[in-house]
């Protein structure tokens, strides 16, 4: 995924001091682009709606129901999970150039407020783009696959996909995002999962299973 805002921007990767400086410079260069940005006085926390309308709205929308299929919906996700993800982006434990830049400018209190805001929003139904795959995906979600050792997703994410504070809600999530994350887990690129659980699960899945289950997840209400 390429973030349009950052195309051609400075070096944003890595956690080295050099890259960190690069990121801060980029963030500064971006400031004039972001209308209505009010720089907070040191120690003064901005509230969630203010941050979202300034920084997050273009990709995630105000209520966290991202319209662009490659961006995750945040609405209804568990607050604990959202806060952990923001902290992981900021520390580099979850790698994503754009999200790291946004998250590293947030204080812990702001992360908590943003997490609470998105957690309390109502999630809109997902969009199935390949209905032919839904049945295969349903089977995998609820039964797993004994042949390659994939456990049923339902065990951790619950049969209705509503999840738990540890195993996040996935029902109705955008299918391309789900497929992308499963692939990142599989390739050992997303590595912030507790105890390597999702890397183990996705590592056992075939690319076809990933596409099928992503369609089923999007169909779950």
């Amino acid at each position: 995924m390429r973030n349009p805002v950052y195309q051609g921007g400075g070096p944003l990767t890595g956690a080295t001091g050099h890259a960190r400086r690069g990121r801060r410079r980029t963030a500064l260069r971006l400031l004039p682009l972001l209308s209505l940005v009010v720089l907070p006085a040191p120690g003064q926390a901005r509230d969630a709606p203010e941050i979202i309308s300034n920084l997050c709205i273009a990709c995630h929308t105000m209520d966290g129901n991202a319209l662009v299929p490659a961006f995750p919906k945040l609405a209804g996700l568990h607050a604990e999970y959202l806060e952990k993800q923001l902290a992981d982006y900021a520390s580099g434990a979850r790698k994503h150039e754009a999200m790291q830049a946004f998250a590293s400018d947030l204080s812990r209190n702001e992360m908590r407020a943003l997490a609470a805001h998105f957690a309390s929003q109502r999630r809109h139904d997902g969009v199935v783009t390949d209905p032919g795959l839904v049945e295969r995906g349903r089977e995998l979600y609820h039964e797993g696959n004994k042949a390659n050792g994939v456990p049923a997703c339902a065990g951790c994410h619950k049969p209705d996909g509503s999840g738990t504070p540890r195993s996040v809600m996935i029902a109705g999530q955008n299918a391309p995002y789900v497929a992308e994350q499963l692939t990142l887990f599989k390739n050992d690129t997303r590595t912030n999962d507790r105890g390597r659980l999702m890397r183990t699960v996705a590592g056992r899945m075939t690319p076809e299973e990933i596409q099928a289950v992503a369609q089923y997840v999007a169909s779950m209400q």
Binding site: G155, G195, R196, T200
Partner: protein
């Protein structure tokens, strides 16, 4: 071809191999391997540190239910396993037996590489082992387990009474204190697989006295006795209570 070129090409090949490895599936936590029944000096049910700690810990069934969520994807909600017996039923098994099996898998004495990544210390703490065992031991056992073909039950019963009853009990309830598993209500295919694996030395944490008994069994004997066990009527004390008594 100069020596340096060869070295460089070799290095290149190694880097490509490493790169290919990285681009492939994520490496799963690999199960360790500890000596088992195949090794001289094998001591059955040796209480190494982790097993001892888990057995001493006071299991909390409420917390155990939460911790068990990473297991449900295979063992199912309420731990019924599956009737085809690929995943065993864990509901109603003695807490001591469950703790022994879990810590044996972690130590690498019972091979189960498929399950191992979900049971590592990074996922399940020693306290959680005790919690999960307490939770599972209290779950009800229902009569819908997978049954055998029912073709040789008389012989099955005879074999069971002669050779197995002394440990697994007249009703197949096993014994919590002695770490004898409950076998009633278990799925036929699982009972069959384990009996064979124990006979053939594949289940490396097996009890040597049981091996002695089952060593001479033919495949037909093992099928008949497994069939009989899968049809044992469900009666006797709730195993959860028995397991609590033993602690």
């Amino acid at each position: 071809m100069t020596e340096r070129m060869t070295t460089r090409m070799l290095l290149g090949a190694v880097l490509i191999a490493v790169g290919a490895g990285l681009a492939g599936a994520a490496d799963e936590p690999a199960q360790p391997r500890a000596p088992g029944i195949e090794s001289p000096g094998y001591v059955w049910n040796e209480r190494e540190e982790e097993k001892l700690l888990a057995l001493k810990a006071e299991g909390n069934a409420v917390r155990g239910e939460i911790s068990f969520d990473v297991c449900q994807g295979c063992h199912g909600f309420g731990a019924p396993g599956d009737v085809e017996g690929y995943y065993p039923r864990l509901a109603g098994q003695h807490a001591t037996v469950l703790i022994k099996q879990m810590t044996d898998v972690r130590a690498g004495r019972r091979d189960n590489p498929t399950e191992y990544p979900f049971l590592t210390e990074h996922v399940i703490s020693v306290q959680e082992i005790a919690d999960i065992a307490a939770y599972l031991a209290e779950l009800p056992v229902t009569p819908d387990n997978g049954k055998g073909p029912g073709t040789d039950l008389e012989r099955g019963e005879l074999l069971y009474r002669n050779d197995c009853l002394s440990c697994h009990g007249p009703d197949g309830l096993g014994d919590a204190e002695d770490f004898y598993p409950r076998v009633s209500g278990q799925h036929y295919a699982y009972l069959l697989r384990e009996s064979r694996d124990i006979r053939d030395g594949r289940r490396r944490n097996a009890n040597p006295e049981m091996v002695e008994v089952i060593e001479g069994y033919t495949d037909d004997d093992v099928m008949a006795v497994s069939d009989y066990m899968s049809r044992l009527p469900l009666k006797g004390a709730a195993p959860g209570e028995a397991a609590v008594d033993a602690q």
